[in-house]
């Protein structure tokens, strides 16, 4: 069916592009295409929230950072000194810890990335619920401002917490073995397979949202976007649906944050920056708001160009200007005179 064309295209690219780019001697592009896929995944989550349910969030980067930081922190924190602790011992006995060596070659013991990643995503979901319940009572630009404030708070926490590396962020984040032998990690040897992982994840993320928007809960989201009174009169619990899609968007950002952090092996406070949130919003707007394929295309292309350094020092400016341009040119957005 036409509805699944983009999903199929992304899935085909996931496997076809690495050999193709290698043949064209352009395999180095796979790195930025991998990173762009994770940013696009976070944009897709925002598309469901903003494009379909009409709830703008300027805090998407905050959830991305919560996922990335929490997974980085949990998977790098050395528990070797506490190995006598019954809790640590118990985790070890359950096989939930992984052994390695720190930057100085000393033995280290830390949570396995699977556990770290799951905890990180659950944390983002928990924060989304706690933030979402009060702020989703707000509408329009008030909601935008409240979520912007949330994003700024997350960045300040990341920057100001020594345990999170302050301005340097966290590094030496270990590889994340999704399956034995299938690791999310940087490095040339893993480049092609990581590209495939990221684009397959992206295709799955897209497929789930395509299914969602064409379903009972998806119609309820679109209906509440067009009028909460009518949606409520048809039995839609609008407050709950808004919270659900807010949490879903946060979960997409957190998954993207987790995977990109393990891919890069590091994360810094810049990921939580308000300008990153503006980027996500700009991408959904450029993609056509209630348009998953458009958001995906804009997310891949713009992030790829940005990561290639095409925009140079005007990087943030480009996204800001694009957002303004889309807002000015979209039909029905401007107030009529």
């Amino acid at each position: 069916m036409r509805r699944f064309a983009t999903v199929l295209l992304i899935a085909v690219c996931a496997f076809a592009l690495p050999p193709l780019l290698t043949a064209l001697k352009a395999a180095f592009l796979l790195t930025q295409l991998t990173m762009a896929a994770y940013y696009a995944l976070a944009s897709l989550g925002l598309c469901a929230l903003m494009g379909y349910a009409g709830q703008i969030s300027m805090g998407q980067a905050g959830f991305f950072a919560i996922g990335g930081y929490a997974s980085a922190y949990l998977s790098t924190r050395n528990l070797a000194a506490a190995s006598g602790d019954p809790l640590v011992g118990g985790l070890d006995a359950l096989g939930l810890l992984s052994r390695g060596a720190d930057a100085y070659g000393n033995p280290s013991l830390s949570l396995s990335p699977w556990i770290a990643a799951l905890c990180a995503i659950l944390l983002a979901i928990l924060v989304a619920v706690l933030i979402g319940i009060p702020v989703l009572k707000l509408k329009g630009h008030y909601l935008a401002m409240a979520t912007l404030g949330f994003g700024i708070v997350i960045e300040k926490i990341a920057r100001g917490t020594p345990a999170l590396g302050g301005a340097d962020g966290l590094s030496c984040v270990p590889a994340f073995a999704l399956l034995p032998g299938l690791e999310v990690t940087g490095g040339r040897a893993a480049r092609a397979v990581n590209f495939t992982i990221s684009w397959v994840v992206l295709a799955i993320g897209l497929l789930a949202l395509v299914n969602l928007v064409n379903s009972r809960p998806g119609r309820a989201l679109r209906a509440l976007h067009d009028g909460e009174e009518a949606a409520g009169a048809m039995g839609v619990d609008t407050a709950r649906y808004k919270l659900n899609v807010f949490v879903l968007g946060a979960a997409y950002a957190a998954v993207a944050g987790v995977l990109l952090t393990h891919y890069n092996g590091s994360i810094g406070p810049g990921e939580a920056n308000a300008m990153k949130s503006v980027r996500y919003v700009a991408i959904v707007a450029v993609g056509g708001m209630a348009n998953l394929s458009g958001t995906l295309a804009a997310g891949l292309l713009l992030n790829f160009l940005s990561l290639r350094g095409v925009f140079g020092s005007l990087d943030d400016l480009v996204f800001g200007v694009m957002l303004v341009a889309v807002m000015l040119l979209s039909p029905g957005v401007r107030s009529r005179r």
């Binding site: 789930a208 299914n211 379903s215 009972r216 119609r219 009028g227 009518a230 009169a233 048809m234 209630a290």
Partner: protein, 254 residues
Amino acid sequence: MSLLEVASLARSFGGLRAVDGVSFSAEKNRITSVIGPNGAGKTTLFNLIAGSLEPDSGTVLFDGEDITGMKPFRVARRGMARTFQAIKLSRRMTALENVMIGRHVRSRAGFPQAMLASPWARREERRIREEAMKAIELLGIAEYAGRETGSLPFGVQRSVELARAIASEPKLLLLDEPASGLNIRETVGLAELIGRIRAEGISILLVEHDMSLVMDISDEIAVLNFGRKIAQGKPREIQSNREVVDIYLGEDDD
């Protein structure tokens, strides 16, 4: 027992008593109408019943349950569907999709089932589509099913809204001035449609300004003036009620 029992319902806005101690009931399988001149409190009463407004005092019993002050979505889940005086549809969704929203209270798929497109969710989705099509066919607008709602003629949009409401298989259908904005021919068509909906076993509460429509199809009529009920009875009784004729019917005849 009546399907809907409204007792001493009151709501003020500032100093204005928009609805001032109104009591009436609507019976099963009947078309009950509330009429009154502009500003009589019809729409306020309607919103108090549907849960869009909270009353200052009084009670609303629906199918034996106290629904006073209950949120609209909870009222809807108990089997009360409504249309709006100013049509409220999702303009960018097709007519069929809008009517499918009407099946919301009759279906269950949540986010996980929908995202995974489980076989169970897909079966339910098919059923939603079929039931929505039935409602669309009942209202005779099948030819518009795949069209974006915003591009449809006004009268058709009204039918889409009606179809959305009846797709939920309500026990009681609340119609808020369904004839407003319709021409005479469309109003006649509407009367016929309302009759067809009643024949499906759906009770109707109609708030209407258009007297010809009300007199033709109602089983029972309550008359409001300045927030108070001044009369209730069969159409014939209302037509011969002196007070009603004076304050309401008279205004057109002068």
